[in-house]
């Protein structure tokens, strides 16, 4: 009778990086791997292995716990941008890697060469209030009906619009698509806004409903 593993599910699809490099000569230095999770982007995303030093442990293979540790340096290409040599040892244990065969490598390299640079997301300086907040503000007689937008200190591919600049991203309850997830799994995308974590305002129903926050 076999061991029956019981645990949480996830959406990773592939093998551990150590399982791939362990099967290759010189730990796959020079070979290309890709993370299945990043294949959703239109721009090419892949890693080229620069050096790999696995620290295989021989314990508990029946618990799927071997081939998890080591140090790996890769040349990271993410969404068409080369990030140089980075250390991905922390995420190498994830069962989400796929080897790119040598005859497929040219396709990825060509895609990288021909990939146009990603458009910067220019965010509006102000956004409309969520419906419930707006309602409360109106009831209590506040002057403001908009909220000032703030970004994190180092936003990823986004910035606030300059004075008088037209933003290319619209953020409002009418246009905002909100992912509804249950235990991390996307079940639907609705047009609406998060009024409060766990409470979703749906444009179609015009009512706030309880959902798991994203």
């Amino acid at each position: 009778m076999p061991y029956l593993l019981v645990g949480r599910t996830h959406s990773f699809y592939g093998k551990r990086l150590w399982e791939i490099v362990g099967e290759l000569k010189e730990f796959g230095v020079g070979r290309m791997v890709v993370r299945s999770r990043f294949e959703r982007y239109p721009e090419p995303c892949f890693f080229r292995i620069v050096s790999a030093e696995p620290d295989f442990d021989t314990g508990r293979p029946h618990k799927d716990e071997d081939n998890m540790n080591g140090k790996v340096l890769v040349e990271k290409i993410f969404r068409g941008k080369n990030y140089g040599v980075v250390d991905i040892s922390e995420s190498a244990y994830k069962t989400d890697y796929r080897l790119i065969h040598k005859h497929e490598e040219a396709k990825y390299v060509h895609a990288l060469e021909t990939c146009p640079p990603r458009q910067m997301n220019i965010l509006p300086r102000t956004v409309e209030m969520p419906p419930l907040l707006k309602m409360v503000a109106e009831r209590e007689g506040h002057e403001r009906t908009v909220l000032t937008m703030e970004t994190s200190t180092n936003p990823c591919n986004a910035r606030l619009a300059e004075e008088g600049e037209e933003p290319n991203v619209k953020i409002s309850p009418e246009t905002h698509t909100v992912p509804v997830r249950v235990r991390g799994r996307l079940i639907e995308e609705v047009v609406g806004a998060w009024v409060w974590p766990g409470v979703l305002w749906r444009q179609d129903k015009n009512t706030a409903t309880h959902h798991t926050s994203p």
Partner: protein, 445 residues
């Protein structure tokens, strides 16, 4: 219709039997000079290896492993080169264990290229085919990859022994690494796979990958995350026909010509990649290369096994289109053609390969000496540093004793500080036991 099928099967059987006997007659692949015996045995005279007694050395390595819990790549390399396959002593299982330990340690990165060659060559001389196949089929646990020259030697040996399964398995390692090497390695790999496919009574294809021992009853184990089912269609391939088919399909375009075209079609058919097979049929139909009639027959047989009716129909149409082109399907014996190609390639490459290999042996010896020296220097440096550290400690202690009265005031101050530090005794003292009331009587419930 049925009569035609029976007749076709008989013709095929006859053809294969003829092929088998023809293969028996000519089994000369690489010459004896290719083994580079003299240059290889030259390593035993090197000062590093000459004094090593393999039995004692293995014992020392075991002791070191038990003491320090690690194994050094240069030590393993020295052992691999020191063992002599021509001697009666059998160290196969010990060596296998040592290589496994090295692979699972951090030192695995430092494995020298000569280790791979020396180990496989030793096992080949010892005729330990099972161990060779086990080691090269499980890189995660052994990490031994044959280089081009070693691949050639192994495939040559197995072809001569008519162990086509083993030869095809060596060829499939090149496919998994996606590195088919120079033309000689390519041709030998093609010959090995072709021999495996056409031979009727092959040795069994054993799965050497280790499986964890399973308990008698079902045991549920809590893990953090479950793994989603995933089949990579490369390292996970299990079916021998798929592995050999993929090897043929990827390798044959490099060989080219009639042999390449025929074997490519056969490869895609064995690999059951019907889309690729159809594309290859169209490409070959439009190209200049012809296909052997025996291969066409074989591919047709395989297509018959395709479960998807539409796909089968498409393939049959593509096949008939290929056959209709004049001069595309030729009555050629494949095995003699492969033999001829092999002898041509061997004649071209053999001398150069021998020269290169002799240079490689010298290069390895130099590299080994340098690595040994580096490790020796590092060991001495570490020993010296330890010694200095010990001496510094000793001097500091002596200084404290000699200058005690000079530093008395300072030391008293330090002592006072220490006392203050430990003043809050409650932190460090053991909890006092509660006083037991001897007269206590527990209430009745």
């Amino acid at each position: 219709m049925a009569t035609r099928a029976v007749l076709s099967r008989h013709i095929n059987l006859l053809h294969r039997t003829r092929l088998y006997f023809r293969r028996q007659q000519c089994c000369e692949y690489l010459s004896a000079a290719y083994q580079c015996e003299e240059a290889w045995n030259g390593r035993l005279q090197s000062p590093l290896i000459k004094n090593i007694k393999p039995g004692d050395y293995i014992y020392d390595l075991e002791q070191k492993y038990k003491r320090e819990g690690k194994i050094s790549a240069i030590d393993v390399d020295l052992l691999m080169n020191a063992v002599d396959g021509s001697k009666a002593i059998d160290l196969v299982s010990d060596i296998e264990e040592i290589v496994h330990r090295l692979r699972r340690s951090r030192e695995s990165v430092l494995t020298l290229p000569s280790t791979h060659h020396a180990l496989l060559r030793y096992l080949q001389l010892k005729n330990a085919t099972d161990t060779i196949l086990k080691i090269i089929s499980d890189p995660l646990n052994y990490g031994i990859f044959p280089d081009y020259y070693t691949s050639n030697l192994l495939m040559d040996t197995f072809l001569k022994q008519e162990n086509y399964t083993a030869a095809a398995r060596v060829a499939s390692v090149n496919m998994l690494q996606e590195d088919f090497g120079p033309p000689l390695t390519q041709t030998l790999a093609l010959a090995s796979c072709f021999a495996y496919v056409t031979c009727e009574n092959n040795q069994p294809w054993i799965d050497y990958k280790p499986k964890p021992e399973e308990p008698a009853e079902e045991v549920k184990i809590r893990v953090k995350y479950l793994r989603n089912p995933y089949f990579d269609d490369h390292f996970d391939l299990q079916d021998p026909n798929h592995i050999v088919g993929k090897t043929l399909a990827w390798l044959s375009p490099l060989v080219g010509g009639m042999i390449g075209a025929s074997c490519e079609l056969l490869g895609w058919a064995l690999y059951n990649k019907w889309g690729d097979l159809e594309a290859a049929l169209h490409r070959i139909k439009d190209g200049n290369d012809s296909v052997a009639v025996s291969m066409v027959q074989r591919i047709k047989e395989i297509i018959e096994q395709c479960e998807d009716g539409d796909v089968q129909e498409h393939l049959k149409v593509a096949m008939s289109h290929l056959e209709q082109v004049e001069g595309k399907v030729k009555e050629v014996e494949m095995w003699p053609a492969i033999q001829t190609l092999l002898s041509q390639v061997t004649a071209q490459a053999e001398q150069q390969d021998i020269k290169t290999q002799i240079d490689t042996y010298q290069c390895w010896e130099k590299g080994r000496a340098e690595e040994f020296q580096r490790q020796l220097d590092e060991y001495r440096k570490r020993e010296l540093l330890d010694e200095i550290e010990e001496k510094k400690k000793d001097l500091a202690e002596r200084e404290q004793v000699i200058f005690f009265f000079d530093n008395k005031e300072k030391l008293e101050l330090v002592l006072q500080q220490k006392k203050d530090q430990y003043k809050d005794k409650s932190k460090y003292q053991k909890k006092q036991k509660k006083k037991l009331d001897t007269d206590y009587i527990p209430p009745e419930v």
